[in-house]
């Protein structure tokens, strides 16, 4: 007590002016892993504003080995106003734990800069000191009301009297929405519709911070997809201080008892048992019980020895409400599959074991609906080489079955009568992606291509119980079985088979991992023959990590332990309905209707950063290119048959060789170029259902198999390459040739957790949220002593550190966990010295953290890109740097210049021709470069739009002046006598090579200037001289020494007369025929690419990627030549200009001679 009083006094005495900041100081645990004393003063961000309301400073302390206890230390914190030099806060804080968090109010701060000084002290000795500066600015309050149209990607095809649940996310700009109650949904007639809201992210750490992402659930009526026809929205989101949402007419009521949750959603009542959890039980509809479960039903699996493990056997199962609302409530059930007749005491990764595999099941209940959605995740806890599974199933008992139905292709169903059911099981097995068969014990009854993913029984009294499973044929094999006393859905079929006609290691098949997609048993051990086939295909038995066979060998050594598989199901309980209703509900569920807010709105909120809405009208060439690339990629997967529960849908790293053969090197788990973010980014800016479909499947694959969810420390397995064991939340790298193998990292270049965050914001998927927070974040903030932690934390300067920085800034904005700021602080320090671009670091540092130093380095870098200071240009995506420079630049001319450079540096024309190849299923590579290009293009469009540039090819600044050996002729035309300036911009005389000679010859052929240009930005003025006409500027430029930019003058006509040229940037020149005889032109870029575009249509006339000769007809209206090369050879001299306006046919060329002649 005495100690406590002393501490309190100590605190109070040392506080100066603390009242204005009203600091709240508290401690958090921080595992001490450093051998040295480590001290971070970490700011939440470098610039706060009045919109933030609160700020945060975190002190992170690791005492090292020489200090016995944290309690020996204290931290002195001082905040100094740099404007007034007044200390506005000072306090000595004794240490209890490794993290001290100080949250403080901003409202009483004066705008200006503040210095935060932290000193770690032992007694009176200062052991370490760290300082940070933050700025406080006042911003105008944004509009606090609005109405945003919603765009549906697919139709909601439901009976006009019915509705279907929709869950979506909407962002708001900072400072716009402070209370979720001030939001509602309106239908197209302006009528409010009941909705349920969940805050998914705020703009700051406090509950007083404004809302960044809001999740909304509502029930949509029959709706026509409007993402393309944006003029006819069916629903709107409206917000404002006076807005409130109407209550739901039907509510979910839940009564909790010691043993059960009793649920009544207005349409059905049922029980969820807290012990012996068997899914749901005692379903009552219309006052009669239509479904009664047993303790032997629900989820189960059977091992290769025939032992049965049931979810209902787990005595310690945890059943809880995860999200509660009137319209939707989610129950979360976590437990183990426990072997029949055991106590569930033992867990072993091989047999025998009492417990085999964990599960996390989510039951989503919707108000007024005769169905529940079940997202069932199985987490594998066994070794692939030790355990196989005969069956993974979900059974529901039933009696008095009259008929059964299987939904099959073309919106049909296949009816099975009572006799057939009584004579034994009848089952539909989706054996292959394009083959199902309905069989009974003796024969095949029907065959076809695609199951529709549902089956149902009709009882004697007409009640219908159905199970609907999403993406059934895509995720083959699957089985739906009707037995005499119930129905079973098999996540792995009980009646599966092998397909001897498929040569699973043929080069067209090997990447489909057939070993895991066929057979009577699920055997997840990759056979050795896969390695030997890879060795044969690559003509050598390499075993290293940088070879395809070496990665396939890692696949042979991989283990499923720690990976998961999630099944998305809807279980229907219909009474007084017919099978058509079951079909209708299933069809709706298959498409899983989703909507997004108007992309224009999303873009303006900046919640996703600087991205543009899909703009095919304004930026057709760019949008077409993205579409061809990304859609072409997934269409190639369809074409090559990449389906199945373990591979649907993946992104690959290297190349497609044509004829259904892929390079096997780094084939799976490619999150490492931020690939997983791509479909969602493209979806949120367009609403295109194609991206939604691919993104949903891809994120499920990554989140299930590409992230580790479980570890068994007694399991000694290590990955072949880098020898890692497992740590929860870690992302697999692409070095394993299967989605569950390979090395892995929590923080490194290879992670793409950002995609998961976006998915959570847009869909509210709680499994995804759980992986982010309860797996990934939990490990990085509280499992740092895990022996696998150092190997999974690759924070060396460069791409690993920088990708992590971008990811952590995003995670912080989702969870605001203070410990993340310590990592961010460490990563930022390294980033500022090595800005190697990977993921979203610079974008996030500029937009959210608002680092002044990073911005200055960007601005310096775009001016002096050749110096590559701080590694800014160590990037696959130079267009990102220019786009960001344009967005942040205030000078209008520079803004335009950078935006256009962003466009040209994206290499759009080259990508356009590559995209055509992909779309046409020609050989293509490398896939990893696609996200490098695509991810930052929406930012380029944003920059172009912000700079008001519709057509970047008509831009007028800072591309390289063509250099001509022996003298570059620039000819300008003065229409009216006046002074005009020649401004030399660029770089001159690199490596102290001195200047270059320049002459200006007037219209009377008199040399009026003869000088040497030593410095860039030299200005020469040609005086008003009583003459008009052509002036020839002869520049003695030296290849490799002088890189100048054009135009040189502000005259309206300026051209360059060349018979060959070199250039220091990518260029775009306009040219026209110099005479009526000139019908064709010939150009040849040295080694690299060139494109000739029609001036009329701006479409491509000819192109080369590899320095081939291009000879084309030149129409009288001229053409554009885009060169991405250093040197350009010409068949004939050309007169080039920066654009059409500047072009003219000079008479002076008749007097000019080229000193060097070139052969074509």
């Amino acid at each position: 007590m005495k100690k406590f009083i002393i501490i309190c006094l100590f605190f109070n005495l040392l506080v100066l002016n603390a009242a204005s900041l009203n600091p709240r100081i508290y401690y958090l645990d921080w595992e001490q892993i450093s051998n040295e004393l480590k001290f971070n003063v970490a700011l939440e961000k470098e610039e706060f504003s009045n919109l933030d309301r609160e700020g945060r400073i975190v002190f992170g302390i690791e005492k090292g080995k020489t200090i016995n206890s944290l309690e020996e230390l204290s931290v002195n914190c001082r905040i100094l106003s740099l404007r007034t030099s007044e200390v506005i806060f000072e306090k000595e804080i004794p240490l209890q734990k490794g993290i001290i968090v100080m949250d403080f109010n901003l409202e009483n701060l004066e705008p200006g800069s503040y210095q935060v000084t932290g000193e770690i002290k032992k007694a009176q000795n200062v052991l370490k000191k760290d300082e940070k500066i933050f700025r406080y600015v006042k911003k105008p309050m944004p509009a606090n009301k609005g109405k945003i149209p919603l765009f549906f990607s697919t139709d909601v095809k439901i009976n006009s009297k019915d509705t279907f649940p929709v869950s979506f996310g909407i962002p708001f700009p900072e400072g716009t929405l402070w209370n979720e109650n001030n939001v509602r949904i309106l239908d197209k007639d302006g009528k409010p519709v009941a909705c349920q809201k969940t805050i998914r992210s705020r703009w700051g750490h406090s509950n007083n911070s404004s809302i960044r992402w809001l999740g909304i659930d509502f029930q949509a009526q029959n709706t026509v997809s409007n993402w393309q026809n944006k003029k006819q929205p069916s629903y709107f989101v409206e917000f404002g201080p006076s807005i409130s949402s109407p209550p739901s007419s039907q509510k979910i009521n839940i009564e909790e008892t010691e043993q059960t949750y009793n649920v009544d959603n207005g349409e059905i009542k049922f029980v969820i048992k807290k012990k012996s959890w068997n899914f749901i039980d005692s379903v009552i509809s219309n006052r009669k019980e239509i479904f009664k479960n047993t303790d032997n039903d629900g989820f189960y699996l059977i091992d290769h020895q025939g032992n049965i493990y049931r979810a209902s056997n787990d005595k310690d199962v945890k059943v809880e409400i995860e999200e509660r609302g009137d319209l939707k409530t989610v129950f979360r059930i976590e437990g183990w599959y426990v072997k029949d007749n055991t106590e569930g005491n033992t867990i072993n990764y091989r047999l025998p074991t009492d417990k085999l595999c964990k599960f996390i099941s989510r039951i989503e209940v919707f108000a007024g609906k005769p169905y529940v959605r079940v997202l069932h995740t199985i987490i594998f806890t066994f070794d692939s080489n030790s355990v196989r599974l005969k069956d993974i199933g979900f059974s529901l008992p039933s009696t008095e079955i009259k008929n059964a139905y299987f939904g099959i292709e073309n919106d049909q169903f296949f009816k099975v009568d009572k006799n057939a059911i009584d004579n034994g099981p009848v089952y539909l097995v989706q054996h292959l992606a394009d083959k199902f068969s309905i069989e009974d014990a003796k024969k095949t009854i029907k065959e076809g291509k695609h199951s529709e993913g549902w089956f149902a029984i009709e009882k004697q009294n007409g009640d219908i119980i159905g199970i609907n499973h999403r993406e059934t044929w895509q995720r083959f094999p699957k089985e739906m079985e009707i037995i005499k006393d119930g129905i079973k859905f098999h996540i792995w079929p009980a009646h599966g088979k092998t397909h001897p006609d498929i040569d699973e290691i043929d080069s067209k098949e090997i990447y489909k991992l057939w070993f895991a997609h066929q057979g009577k048993e699920l055997n997840l051990a990759m056979p050795w023959k896969y390695y030997f086939k890879a060795a044969e295909l690559y003509n050598g038995p390499a075993t290293d990590v940088y070879s395809a066979p070496g990665l396939v060998l890692a696949g042979v050594h991989s283990s499923i332990l720690g990976a998961s598989i999630t099944s998305d199901m809807l279980v229907t309980f219909l009474t007084g309905e017919n099978i058509e209703k079951q079909k209708e509900i299933s069809n709706c569920f298959q498409s899983l209707p989703h909507c997004i807010p108007d992309p224009e709105w999303t873009s303006n909120t900046l919640a996703l950063g600087y991205i543009s809405p899909y703009s095919p009208e304004k930026f057709k060439i760019i949008e077409d290119c993205i579409e061809k690339l990304v859609k072409g990629y997934f269409e190639l997967q369809d074409y090559t048959g990449q389906y199945g529960m373990w591979i649907y849908r993946s992104w690959h790293h290297t190349s497609y060789r044509g004829d259904k053969v892929f390079d096997l090197y780094r084939f799976f788990n490619t999150t490492h170029h931020y690939d997983a973010f791509m479909p969602w980014l493209l979806y949120v800016r367009s609403g295109d259902p194609f991206y939604l479909q691919q993104g949903r499947a891809n994120i499920r694959l990554i989140s299930d198999l590409g992230i580790i969810h479980y570890d068994d420390p007694s399991y000694s397995h290590r990955e072949l390459h880098f020898h890692q064991k497992r740590i929860i939340g870690s992302t697999r790298h692409t070095n394993g040739f299967c989605p569950w193998g390979g090395d892995h990292a929590l923080m490194a270049h290879l992670t793409c957790y950002n995609a998961l965050m976006l998915v959570y914001y847009l869909t509210g998927d709680l499994r995804i949220k759980e992986i982010l927070i309860d797996e990934w974040q939990k490990t990085i903030v509280s499992d740092r002593k895990n022996p696998e932690f150092p190997g999974a934390t690759r924070l060396e300067p460069g791409r690993d550190n920088n990708n992590t920085l971008g990811e952590l800034i995003d995670l912080y904005q989702m969870t605001y966990h203070p410990a993340l700021l310590i990592y961010i602080d460490d990563c930022l320090k390294k980033f500022l010295t090595d800005m190697y671009h990977w993921g979203q670091p610079l974008h996030n540092v500029l937009l959210y953290y608002k680092s002044e130093k990073a911005l200055n380095q960007l601005f310096e870098g775009v001016i002096d890109w050749k110096s590559n200071k701080a590694g800014l240009w160590t990037t696959h995506s130079p267009h990102e740097n220019y786009a960001l420079a344009s967005i942040f630049e205030n000078d209008k001319d520079k803004k335009i210049e950078y935006a256009v450079k962003a466009f040209f540096n994206s290499d759009i024309y080259s990508w356009n021709s590559k995209a055509d190849k992909l779309k046409n299923k020609e050989s293509f590579g490398a896939f990893c470069a696609v996200p490098d290009f695509v991810l930052y293009i929406p930012r380029v469009i944003y920059a172009l739009a912000q700079a008001d540039i519709q057509d970047p090819t008509g831009w007028n600044y800072s591309q390289a002046l063509p250099g001509c050996p022996g003298g570059t002729y620039c000819i300008v035309k003065e229409e009216k006598d006046r002074n005009f300036d020649i401004i030399i911009r660029g770089e001159i005389g690199k490596k102290d090579a001195g200047g270059f000679p320049l002459k200006v010859i007037d219209p009377e052929k008199k040399i009026i200037i003869d000088t040497t240009i030593e410095k860039a930005y030299t200005k020469l003025t040609v005086q008003q001289d009583g003459k008009t006409g052509e002036y020839v500027i002869v520049l003695g430029l030296r290849d490799g020494k002088d890189d100048l930019y054009m135009p040189l003058t502000d005259l309206e006509k300026e051209v360059y007369y060349v018979n060959y040229w070199w250039q220091s940037t990518e260029t775009r020149f306009f040219t026209k025929p110099v005479s009526q005889n000139m019908k064709t032109i010939g150009i040849q870029p040295h080694v690299y690419s060139a494109y000739i575009l029609s001036n009329k249509t701006k479409e491509l006339i000819a192109s080369t990627e590899k320095g081939e000769k291009l000879e084309v007809e030149i129409p009288p209206e001229g053409v554009w030549i885009i060169g991405k090369t250093r040197y350009m050879h010409l068949k004939q001299p050309l007169i080039l200009s920066i654009d059409e306006k500047h072009w003219f046919l000079p008479e002076s060329i008749n007097d000019l001679q080229f000193k060097t002649k070139w052969n074509w």
Binding site: D383, S384, N385, S386, I505, N523, A525, M526, P527, W528, K529, Y531, F532, K533, A535, E536, G540, P541, T543, L553, V556, H557, S559, S716, H717, R718, L720
Partner: protein
């Protein structure tokens, strides 16, 4: 007394001898007279997928090709018997698996008089002296990964030493010597990994009597294609 002690140590040295474990790309056997001979895998196999073993002769005929499953073979070895078959000469085997497998398997594998390990890259789990021969009269460059090595001639004289050469290639400390075929050299290692540079290989053993230079044709066989000809047992 001293002499007695030496004799005692010599006689019982095998009782105290350290087990020899080595990563190598090829294991070569020489059957001088036609006999039934055996390959014994002794040790605990750490990889859950086991390892793959291929044994073939100079003609490319496969004598064994299969996965050896993960188990503890320390007490009871996994034995492959090669029957008397009127064929003698050189055999080669390849183990495909992770390095930990090589760390576990006790060498020698066979009960033949000649068994040697040929590779351009070795990971050594053994503290004693290692002996080797070069297949050609040529200059051999050896690199010790993050460590050092010395080469001795038959007289026990140092003929190459990375500490003296002081030449580096990335993480490897290099040294070189003029190799003569059929001369047995020895190595003293202060490193776990060492390489033979320039695409060459040497043949090593911890027992100089077991070393031989295999028929060079056996290395021309594309052994990785053999398992595809043999149906895998699952």
């Amino acid at each position: 007394m001293k002499k007695i002690l030496i004799v005692f140590l010599f006689l019982f040295s095998s009782c105290f001898a350290e087990d020899f474990h080595l990563f190598t790309r090829g294991i070569y056997f020489y059957e001088k007279n036609d006999v039934e001979w055996h390959i014994n895998f002794k040790g605990k196999i750490p990889s859950f997928c086991g390892f793959y073993f291929i044994l073939f002769n100079v003609n490319g005929n496969c004598l064994y090709c299969d996965a050896i499953f993960s188990s503890d073979y320390s007490e009871k070895p996994f034995t492959i018997t090669i029957p008397k078959d009127n064929i003698t000469g050189c055999y080669k085997s390849v183990i495909v698996g992770e390095e930990a497998v090589f760390d576990s398997l006790k060498l020698p594998l066979s009960d033949l008089d000649y068994e040697t390990y040929g590779s351009d890259y070795f990971a050594v789990h053994y503290k004693g002296r290692i002996y080797f021969q070069t297949p050609t009269d040529d200059t051999y460059v050896l690199g010790a990964y993050k460590g050092h090595l010395k080469v001795f001639n038959e007289k026990g004289e140092v003929i190459a030493d990375t500490k003296i050469t002081k030449k580096q290639e990335k993480y490897d400390n290099l040294t070189e010597f003029a190799g003569k075929r059929e001369i047995t050299y020895s190595l003293e290692l202060e490193c776990r990994y060492f390489k033979v540079k320039n695409g060459k290989k040497i043949f090593v053993s911890n027992d100089p009597k077991k070393i031989f230079i295999p028929d060079e044709n056996i290395d021309k066989i594309e052994w990785w294609k053999i398992p595809l000809l043999t149906k895998e047992k699952r």
